[in-house]
Structure formats: structure tokens, C-alpha cells
Point group: C2
Chain length 244, copies 2
């Protein structure tokens, strides 16, 4: 008993000097896409035996020479080629045993990525888009991270013009509403939705119509250019200035 206590103390003593820096910091990116009227998330196969066959988010260790907030931009860029789009920090996960091969604290970010204009450049390690709502189990605590990010996205999406990266440049209000319904997993009243969007003043009426639709064509809109700067493909300068 006494012996055991002494050992423990010694161990803690040792750790307090050598192992404080034995915690690694990583980022995990929840990259949301949109296809087939469903919200998608970019996943990769876990390379750990413990999680064989399970999907994981895109993550990487934070480099000693990069700002924490630069790390998810790097991951995003490495995986999709995208450089300067909206990324939001959501939460930091740090349970002792969340990573089987060591102590890793991970900060989660989410972003919205246009799957259509940024096709994956490779499918190594099973990199692929997966419908968010058909995911049950994931590697690490990534299901929890994903859920937290989906919730945050849902909270933000009505207040901020985030979603326009997920649509082509020209889109109909119906397409926009479909997207919102996919994100919020509800149905929305068409008239109220249109009123709200008009009120928000995020859209520019293009005076163009849908073509080749088997019904009455809808008007086409685009997002106001200023908003594109702020939330979508934006300059590095703006991005850095935005960091909280």
C-alpha cells in the first residue's frame, strides 16, 4: 500500500517534468458537402487496428510551426485543394482515452465545401463523401465531434450566409430551401422561407430562369458578392483578420 503510493508519486513527479509536453494537439475537420439533397461529410478510413473498418474525420497533428487555426486550413487544402473558405472552431475534445495510441487533444472545426466544383483528387484510404444522417459509429470520438459540429452548423445557418458554397453560383430558391431542409432535417414553409431569405438581403435576383426543368422554371439568384468575400472563398488576409 505504502509502496504503491510511493511509486505513484514518483510517477507523477516524473510526468510533471517530462511528460507535460507529451500531449499532442491535433485538429479534426468536419467538412460538410451537399449532394442528392443530403448533407454529406468527408471521411477517410481509420488507419488504426482498433478502428478497422470504421470511418474517421480528417485530422492531423498541429505542427509546432503553425498557428492552431492554420492547421484546419492546411488539412482542408491538402484534402480538397480549397484554400480560403470559412472555417469555424467548434469545440476541443480532450478525454484521456480518446486516442488509443497516446494522449491527443483535438480541436474540431467545420467548413462547407462545394463537392461539385472541388471533386476529390484521390480516394486513397477510402477518402469519400458520406451522408451525415446514415452514420452510426465512427473511429475515436468522431461521432461525438461530428454531432457537435452538426449542431453548431444548425445553430449558425439561419443567422449567417454560410451555405452558398454548397450550391452552384446560380440557384433557385427551391434549391436553397432543399439545402436548408437537409441541414436542419426539417421541412420549411415555402412562403415563409422565401420571405425570410428576401428579408435577410443575402441574394441578388439574376433575372434569369431555370432551364430544362419539367415544370414551371424558377427564378435564379446568386449570393451577394460581399458575402462571398466574408464567408466563402475569401482572401487569406480577410481570413486571418477574421480569426477569433
Amino acid at each position: 500500500m505504502q509502496e504503491e503510493k510511493k511509486l505513484k508519486t514518483a510517477e507523477i513527479e516524473k510526468q510533471s517534468h517530462l511528460e507535460f509536453f507529451n500531449i499532442a494537439c491535433s485538429v479534426d475537420c468536419v467538412l460538410f458537402g451537399y449532394a442528392h439533397k443530403e448533407l454529406q461529410v468527408l471521411l477517410i478510413q481509420s488507419d488504426l487496428a482498433e478502428f478497422a473498418g470504421m470511418w474517421s474525420l480528417l485530422g492531423d497533428l498541429v505542427q509546432p510551426t503553425e498557428d492552431l487555426e492554420a492547421a484546419p486550413y492546411r488539412v482542408l487544402n491538402e484534402r480538397t485543394g480549397l484554400k480560403d473558405i470559412y472555417l469555424e472552431q467548434v469545440y476541443t475534445f480532450g478525454s484521456i482515452n480518446r486516442h488509443p495510441s497516446g494522449r491527443v487533444i483535438s480541436t474540431a472545426y467545420y467548413s462547407l465545401v462545394d463537392m461539385a466544383t472541388h471533386p476529390l483528387t484521390n480516394t486513397k484510404n477510402g477518402l469519400h463523401w458520406h451522408p451525415v444522417n446514415s452514420l452510426r459509429e465512427m473511429a475515436f470520438d468522431h461521432k461525438k465531434i461530428l454531432d457537435t459540429c452538426v449542431q453548431r452548423l444548425q445553430e449558425q445557418v439561419m443567422e449567417h450566409p454560410l451555405v452558398f458554397n454548397l450550391l452552384p453560383e446560380k440557384f433557385s430558391l427551391r434549391a436553397l430551401q432543399d439545402l436548408y431542409e437537409a441541414i436542419l432535417t426539417t421541412t420549411l414553409d415555402r412562403r415563409n422561407f422565401r420571405k425570410r431569405m428576401i428579408l435577410k438581403d443575402w441574394l441578388v435576383d439574376l433575372d434569369e430562369m431555370e432551364e430544362d426543368v419539367p415544370h414551371r422554371p424558377g427564378k435564379l439568384y446568386k449570393v451577394r458578392p460581399q458575402l462571398r468575400k466574408r464567408y466563402l472563398k475569401q482572401s487569406a488576409a480577410v481570413r486571418n483578420g477574421h480569426a477569433a
Copy 2:
């Protein structure tokens, strides 16, 4: 040029193996108190030469053997003796140069602490309560952290029954309103404030009156006991269950 590149590559190579774990993780706690009708924050003198004479938040490195979220509870407990009260993670700060003596990534938490019933047990290193609104400069990036936490507190405070730790068990609506005004740094309409509080159903009318006031005494209220459990002094079990 070529030489330099080679060196850099070698350096990065080295870092990728040895120095990934050379990033330390810490937590910084923004402990809010309330006195003299002002929001206060618990500060300590910075022990670094770089920040001589400046105040800093209470922080500590995350132990290798504790969950990230356990760390702020430990810091809180070490400084105030409080064990189980509401702590919310706010944001993680990780600029390369935020800490002069090494790479430290810090996750910020805030909490609300009753200064009256939990007086400081020591004033070592200048530990003291400081009015939030008279702080200009702080050590590290702690002013930014503080500002972020104040903002989060302001966002949360009307939606959640957070503030009752900052008042005695029995309080008048006026005292409650003073507190809200201190937190939000606005004035509030008395009638509308009272209506809102009644609507929220957070309070129990004690059928008692203020005493020894030089004017008409007000009714006394307490917070509903269930809410005390959820947000205030709560059991460790509840706390652990609450972690996001």
C-alpha cells in the same frame, strides 16, 4: 537558397518526429465574480519577466493523467476551494507566439463564483478579484481570452440560469437586475425585466421581505432548486454527465 531549403526540410523532418509532442496544452479559467455592482474576474500576477506587473488569468498545464475538461475544475478548486460548479468551455487559443517560453495551446473556460461565500484562501502572487471593465492590458493573450469569455457569458446569461451563484441564497429582483446590468453593461427596463424573469420560471417566491433597507422592502426570491443542481453547486456525477 538551395542550402536553406535543405536545412528547413531537415528541420521540419526532425520536428515531425520529435517535436510534435513539444506542444503543451493548458487551460485558462475566467472566473467571474460580482461585487460592488460590478462584474469581477479572478487574476494573478504573471510570473514571467516579459509580463512583469501585468495580470493574468488562472491557468495551468493539462496533466497527462487528467481529462481536458477536468483541468479547469482542478484550477478552480485549487484557487477557490469550489468543487462542482458550472464551467463552460469557450474557445481554444493557439497562436504560435502566444506564450513566450514555448508553444502552448490553451483552452479557455469560464465559471461564476460566489465571492462572498468563497473568500480567497490566500493572496499569494497577487491573487485578487479585479473589475472586468477596468482592465486594459493583460499578460499573454489573456485580454483576448477574457473578452471572448465575457462575450460568451453575455450571450448565455439570458437563456440559461447561470448567475445565481453570484448572489446570496435569498435576493430581491432588484439585486438580480443589478447583476444582469453589470454583466450586460446596459440598463434594463424594470417592468420588462421582472416579467421576463417570472416567465422563465427560474425563481421561487419566498414570501419574505428585505430587511433594514431605507426604503420600501422588496420581496425575496431564491432560484428553483432543480436549477441549482444543473448549473450551480452540483454533484460530480452530474458534472461529468454534462460534459459536451
